[in-house]
């Protein structure tokens, strides 16, 4: 595998014409073969960053290199390496999926015969082949999202950027999309993902950057980030709850309803002592789960922390 990073973002800045400073000199590195999460609240600067990487937005300063190729100075060469699945539907709705894919390949200089073979391959893999000759506007929302993934694969990019690809897509189609993307990542394609479904990012991504107000507030491995979470909340479905809740040091136990208990505790706290107390008080646990997505909890904490810091600085 190449030792050249898949993406190096170096002090990238963007100030729009209306004075909004969308990126305030951000830097990050994505290694080849990574499945990288780029997270942030709405308006944080994620789409601006992706826009600069895909040359839809002109940067105000700094540079980005895709596999060592500068997006600013060698735009055309850099674009050959990137596949983009944008947030908004952006194909001609009156064209057919097959033509959309073949034409996209043509824009990359891929001969029509090869383009037709790839279109068939990716439309089949994304379960759209039976819709290949229908007008794209007749496709469902999920199909349109999958079509944009197929289109982005036409140049067989080394770096695939997915900007909220599963927004508004039902769970079954979302899973099939992740199966496909995980497959191409396993085959060597570097993937950068932005999503508001944080459980997706937690399950799929190995490394993560959180961006807020145009700055990177966290950039680490997913494992390391999750390990910083010191408190967890468990939800227990129980057969019945006694009138008086048992007390256990270091655990905040709360009744949710007649058959549900919540326990907030330090991550280092063992569960065995909790179960012993439950047993001693005749509480039968039928099932248990984490209350919230761990990454979601961290995400909110980091973003809020960043905002509080900014308010204090102001």
């Amino acid at each position: 595998m190449s030792s050249v990073p898949a993406l190096v973002v170096d002090n990238l800045r963007k100030t729009y014409g209306n004075g909004v400073e969308a990126l305030k000199g951000i830097s990050l590195t994505v290694q080849p073969g990574d499945f990288f999460a780029l997270l942030g609240p709405n308006g944080a600067g994620k789409s601006t960053l992706i826009g600069i990487l895909s040359s839809l937005v002109n940067s105000s300063g700094g540079d980005a290199q895709v596999f060592g190729v500068s997006v600013n100075r060698q735009r055309n060469e850099a674009m050959k390496l990137i596949g983009l699945v944008p947030q908004e539907i952006n194909f001609n709705q009156f064209e057919k999926p097959f033509d959309i894919c073949v034409n996209e390949a043509g824009f990359y200089g891929i001969p029509r015969k090869i383009a037709a073979e790839r279109a068939e391959k990716y439309l089949k893999e994304l379960r759209l082949w039976d819709k290949a000759q229908m007008q794209a506007r007749t496709l469902s929302g999920g199909m349109k999202r999958r079509l944009m993934i197929a289109r982005a694969m036409m140049n067989e990019p080394r770096l695939l950027i997915l900007d909220e690809p599963t927004a508004g897509v039902d769970i079954e189609i979302r899973r099939s999309m992740w199966q496909f993307v995980s497959g191409i990542n396993a085959a060597g394609t570097t993937v950068i993902l932005t999503t508001h479904y944080l459980e997706e990012a937690e399950q799929l991504c190995r490394n993560i950057a959180i961006i807020d107000h145009g700055t990177i507030v966290e950039n680490t491995t997913m494992k390391q980030l999750l390990s910083t979470l010191d408190v967890e909340t468990f939800v227990f479905d129980v057969a019945g709850i006694p009138d008086e809740l048992p007390a256990l040091p270091g655990v905040a136990l709360r009744r949710v309803d007649e058959h549900t208990l919540e326990a907030e505790m330090a991550r280092t706290h063992d569960l065995n002592s909790l179960f012993s107390v439950f047993t001693a008080h005749g509480i039968t646990v039928t099932s248990m789960r984490n209350k919230t997505n761990r990454l979601e909890e961290l995400f909110v904490r980091l973003v809020e922390h960043g905002r509080n810091g900014q308010e204090q600085a102001a």
Binding site: L56, N90, F91, F107, P111, N155
Partner: protein
């Protein structure tokens, strides 16, 4: 694959997509000009023209107006094609398919211009064929005809592209044809010889680029022109060069396309 070969594939893709679009919506792109020009031939060429008598060296009025009407349809079709197609791509954001690709801006521009010229040429051939139902024509200088069609169509394709780049809504695309293109066309010597005008109107008419296109085409078909053919081609080449440079500049800067 070399860059030249890749560029050729990209160019072929853009042109092909434009031609497929023209043929897919042929009732909007090809038929209306044929119907309109048929009415012109019947009303102005036959009914009114028969009372006007011969004009400018023994040609019937019908024969006189055919070159102008053909050129008028070529340039308006070219303009309409590129402005609506490119603005439509902007509106639907499908233009981003090209903007994120490694295709150089000049290939994108050339592809759209060739697509628009293709529509202009198809419409030109159709309205010329209809004209032959009403009168007979001999092409005296076929090369002049071909060159004036190519240049006239290219000029208005480029102008339509610039219009589409600046347009923010569909009304902006309709604005220029209504308030600029149509008056210039009607005052560009399609239906009359500018020699019939008194000063200063004759001199003012010579500032109208369409006058040179119509007369170059008319010279190719009938052998008569209100302006020197060399001057007409110099003017047209000048417009092609200036508009190409301007359109390419806008495209490279990403005006109206990139944030």
């Amino acid at each position: 694959m070399s860059n030249a070969a890749a560029n050729l594939v990209a160019l072929n893709t853009v042109v092909r997509r434009e031609i497929v679009r023209i043929l897919r919506i042929w009732t909007q792109t090809l038929i209306p000009p044929v119907i309109t020009v048929t009415l012109y031939y019947v009303i102005f060429g036959k009914l009114v023209g028969s009372r006007i008598g011969n004009i400018d060296g023994g040609f019937t009025y019908m024969q006189y107006i055919v070159p102008g009407l053909v050129m008028m349809n070529i340039i308006t079709s070219s303009y309409a094609n590129i402005s609506s197609s490119f603005f439509g791509a902007k509106f639907q954001r499908s233009v981003e398919e090209m903007l994120v690709s490694p295709m150089p801006p000049w290939i994108m521009l050339l592809g759209y211009v060739l697509g628009a010229m293709a529509r202009g040429l198809i419409v030109g051939v159709l309205v010329l064929l209809v004209a032959l139902l009403f009168t007979h024509l001999h092409m005296i200088h076929p090369l002049v005809v071909a060159a004036s069609v190519v240049l006239g169509s290219a000029i208005f394709s480029l102008a339509g592209f610039v219009n589409a780049i600046y347009a923010r809504k569909f009304d902006d695309v309709a604005l220029v044809p209504t308030f600029v293109l149509t008056p210039l066309t009607y005052l560009g010597g399609v239906f009359y010889s500018v020699k019939m005008l008194s000063e200063p109107w004759q001199s003012i008419s010579r500032a109208n680029p369409i006058l040179y296109m119509v007369n170059a085409f008319r010279y190719g078909v009938l052998g008569i022109s209100d302006v020197q053919v060399g001057v007409a081609f110099a003017v047209m080449l000048g417009f092609v060069a200036a508009l190409s440079a301007f359109a390419l500049y806008l495209l490279k800067r990403g005006v109206g396309l990139r944030s």
